[in-house]
């Protein structure tokens, strides 16, 4: 089959066999995950190492982490369509694709985790209107619909599809009202990112997670939204840089990356200051009020005080300070270090707020709970990675994802 009519004009792509080999490697990993997924659906949750102590385990961490990392989509949508940062139009397509991958992965993992996916619609029809997780389910589903809508015009710009008059007009008209969808996405993201944090903050039976409230919202509600907006762009930049490395092409101009990194840096710094204040108040007031000292939560070989230091200082203040300084952003080594630390930082925060919450002993006669995921859990958590690689590869090959690509890589 001749691929040329499918590939956007004016750009160079690798040969078909090279591309096929690449996709085949990712598909092999994907199939491993799919096998584990069907095993879990067929045989049940006994295929996992979850138990009564670990009802929230690897999957929920992966869910929270990909949702935070996918936060680059809603935040770049907010900056582009609402704050009118025109430069970011050159990266928003890719941010949307990354967001789409992250949120579809989160929904897939949830579909595996609920055990009976055929009853997933119960959450809409028999909604528990006192649960933060109901709000998460509502906003997550609706925001995924918004991301799909944001992705469709890009798909319709494929050269072959764009020749169909209806699809061409549809793409054009969707672009025309994209600001409305973007604003809806920001509204939905604010609430579901926040409610994911709220789930931990309202656990008054778990002093490690419990936080003080503003009205009905614990501090973690605001910190989760803030951190997703702060660190999400780091993940978008990281995936962009990886894509550039693999394709051996510059895809986005430096000024776009610099602007996105600068905004991310200021968000990280303000977030990490708020997080530090929250941690100090929790350590000095909230936890002692419930009969715990700070070190009660960190006297384990895995969960020691170094994790808190790593999350706040190494993966918080350091990347934030690098990204807010011009010299830091312009040095490619420092820039890459900062965005990698940022991605690790937010993933570590979600790990702590899911797995450490479950591990910390609540009663004096309890010991630390330990948990090691089964291979089925690992395979289904790796599955989204392979799926993401395949989708990004297909999108890059067949869609005009990067508006600056032609200008940056002229064909002789």
């Amino acid at each position: 089959m001749n691929e040329t009519p499918l590939i956007p004009a004016g750009v160079k792509r690798c040969s078909k066999w090279q591309f096929s080999l690449w996709i085949a490697a990712a598909t092999a990993v994907l199939l491993w995950g799919v096998y584990a997924m069907f095993l879990i659906w067929y045989k049940g949750l006994n295929q996992t190492n979850m138990n009564d102590a670990y009802g929230f385990a690897l999957w929920i961490w992966a869910d929270l982490a990909v949702i935070a990392l996918g936060g680059g989509a809603f935040f770049s949508g907010f900056l582009t369509y609402i704050i009118a940062k025109a430069e970011l139009k050159n990266i928003i397509n890719f941010a949307v694709i990354i967001g789409f991958i992250c949120y579809s992965s989160a929904l897939l993992i949830l579909a595996i985790d609920v055990g009976q996916p055929l009853r997933a619609w119960f959450i809409f029809w028999h909604a528990n209107v006192h649960s933060m997780l109901t709000e998460v389910a509502f906003c997550l589903s609706c925001y995924f619909a918004v991301l799909t809508i944001e992705f469709i015009p890009l798909i319709l710009e494929n050269p072959r599809l764009a020749k169909k008059p209806f699809l061409h007009h549809l793409s054009h008209n969707m672009h025309g009202i994209m600001a409305i969808f973007a604003a809806t996405g920001v509204f939905l993201s604010f609430f579901h990112q926040g409610s994911l944090g709220g789930v931990a903050g309202v656990l008054y039976g778990r002093p490690f997670a419990f936080r003080e409230h503003i009205l009905i919202w614990p501090f973690t509600f605001f910190l989760f939204t803030w951190s997703a907006a702060a660190y999400g762009p780091c993940f978008t930049i990281l995936v962009t840089k990886i894509t550039e490395k693999i394709t051996r092409k510059k895809l986005v101009k430096d000024n776009v990356i610099q602007l996105f990194a600068k905004i991310s840096g200021w968000m990280i710094i303000t977030y990490i200051i708020a997080k530090t204040i929250d941690t100090i108040y929790w350590a000095l007031v909230t936890a002692p009020g419930m009969g715990f000292t700070l070190m009660d939560f960190y006297n384990n070989s895995t969960y020691h005080i170094g994790m808190l230091f790593a999350e706040i200082v190494i993966c918080g203040f350091i990347p934030g300070l690098i990204l807010i300084t011009k010299r830091g952003r312009e040095n490619s080594f420092l820039l890459m270090s900062a965005i990698i630390l940022g991605v690790i930082g937010v993933s570590l925060n979600r790990w702590v707020m899911v797995l450490q919450v479950m591990a910390v002993p609540v009663f004096s006669f309890n010991d630390w709970y330990t948990y090691m995921p089964s291979w089925q859990e690992v395979a289904t958590t790796v599955l989204p990675l392979a799926y993401g690689i395949i989708l990004i590869s297909l999108a890059h090959r067949y869609l005009p994802v990067f508006p600056q690509e032609k200008e940056l890589n002229p064909i002789d």
């Binding site: 809409f124 029809w125 028999h126 909604a127 209107v129 006192h130 109901t134 709000e135 509502f138 906003c139 609706c142 619909a145 918004v146 809508i149 764009a162 020749k163 008059p165 209806f166 061409h168 007009h169 549809l170 793409s171 054009h172 008209n173 969707m174 672009h175 025309g176 009202i177 409305i180 969808f181 809806t184 509204f187 939905l188 609430f191 005009p400 508006p403």
Partner: protein, 55 residues
């Protein structure tokens, strides 16, 4: 869940949660309906120019 379901109660929790869901779905639904209908009109009205320049 709709108000005619047996589980429904006219309290603030149901109004906020379910109201928020319907509100979001209405915007998404109305937005998509608008662009699809407009695209049909644009096609039938002969506005099949391929160069809108929307990039």
């Amino acid at each position: 869940m709709f108000p005619f379901c047996f589980e429904w109660a006219w309290d603030i929790s149901h109004l906020v949660f379910m109201g928020g869901l319907w509100y979001a779905l209405s915007i998404i639904g109305a937005g998509m309906t608008f662009v699809i209908v407009k695209s049909i009109f644009d096609c039938s009205g002969g506005h099949d120019d391929q160069n809108h320049g929307h990039h």
